[in-house]
Amino acid sequence: MILLDFEEQIGELLEQLEKLREVEATAEIDMTGSISEIEEKIKKKRKEIYSNLTPWQRVQVSRHPERPYTLSYIEAITGGDFIELHGDRHVKDDKAMITGFGTIDGKTVMFIGQQKGANTKMRSYRNFGMANPEGYRKALRAMKLAEKFNKPIVTFLDTPGAACGLEAEERGQGEAIARNIFEMLNLKVPVICIVIGEGASGGALGIGVGDRVLMLENTWYSVISPESCSSILWRSWDFKVQAADALNLTAENMYDQKLIDRIIDEPLGGAHTNPEKTFETVKNVIIEELEKLGKLDPVKRMELRRDKFLNMGVYNEG
């Protein structure tokens, strides 16, 4: 397991544990007592660290290289009963955006999400989870398809931002995201959006307008990444920790600001320490939320979605 800088003490304990196991295996001495003692210490340490994470540390966990990505969630939640759909029907198939039909306990759901890669080769193949306009248009095509056949939509947000480059601009990155936001406020089927990693800016919001917007415990969502915020407002890359504080970007911050509807718990130590448990929790939350949303009249549900976003904003008057 890859440990983050603030998990150093866990690393030392893990090494001790490894050594004990080695001794047990080679010397054939029963070390059960010492092993469980260390395991208990690790658990305690994890709890101590993870109950006091700073916003910047949450950002680090959200970017943990072993953190599960969209396709792993879909695979686990559907039990493999998933058909991926490709292409925006205009330009190409954007590998940073996944769309497709899958089932949850026999019922069909349209899954959409940004996809990051797990190794160097795949990271580049997936463009680091940064979708181009064709990715957003592919997502919109999938949403319209879901609406046509009256299937609910679940989106997974995990992006460091929308793709940035000559082609993205030529093909209208701004228009593509704007269109998605507009159309998502129009959908007559239930829409659940879940931040599973990074929720950076318009690139995230482009698939993030839902009846229910949820965040996993160790994710972040804001208008800009802490690094870019530091570079612009502090004019230096060195203030990312302060920027993470200032941006109020954690799930808890977002819930307090009434910008998201619910926080989903992660296993102690983050989603990557127990992906199976994370998938199970997320699946159960989706089932629960879809059941509630399914009871609402489609037009009423859409109006409630619009009203929710229309009420966002704090200002003074008079």
Binding site: L166, L247, L249, M312
Partner: protein
Amino acid sequence: MAEENLGWFTRTEKGISTQTKDKKDIKERMWYKCPKCSEVVTNQDHEDNLGVCKCGHHDRISTKRYFEIIFDDNKYKELDRNITSADPLNFKDRKNYSERLVGMTKKTGLKDAITTAVGKVGGYALVIASMNFEFIGGSMGAVVGEKIVRAGDYALKNKIPFMIVSKSGGARMMEAALSLMQLAKTSAKLNQLSEAKVPYISLCLDPTTGGTTASFAMLGDVIIAEPGALIGFAGPRVIKETIGRDLPEGFQRSEFLLEHGFLDYIVERKNLKEKLAQQLRMFAN
């Protein structure tokens, strides 16, 4: 998202440095030098030309000036004058956001980055929400979102066409995710206008970038721009850093967007009022 705010910072600093050189300051007050062709004219002439140089360069002008140009006899009613930014996050970078706001109002005489009004254009009623670039780079926070929504409501209730004049670096960082959500908030109102078949015109000015482009600026029934305006999602500086080479001439300018299919037409400032009246007439008849 709001990387174009950098432009605003640069300008602020320049302003500070020139204040110490009084002579230069006075000179700059009397003369306008075109950044494109270097032609020098008196400020009076520049203003009489609506801020447009002989070479065609459209200089940035204020919302007040646009209202003078667009509305019949410069008559209009300003809407929702008294909505101002709160500082819900107690945001602090090198400076407190609350202090920034006070300083901006003092400097510009504006309450925030948008002014909304209703009036007539060639006899046709029009509600306009016009962004103020001079106020924190025209950045969109909760006030911009709320005033667009309320102006949109006014248009909706009175069945009057709506126009948003964009001139903005994008979402306002000091309001973090609250400002990001203004993209969805404003779009929700545009959805209602669209369903009620109330026309919505988006006029993109220099610059229209970031969250502004990723929401209302690109959602017009008709999307128009002045010549040479910078319009894009990512700012040119960021793109240049990402791709590691210079950007092609004219990249992300109005003419480039027209060519790529993202604008309906480009209108010179001197023809703006006439063209808007024509457009409104065609929606009406």
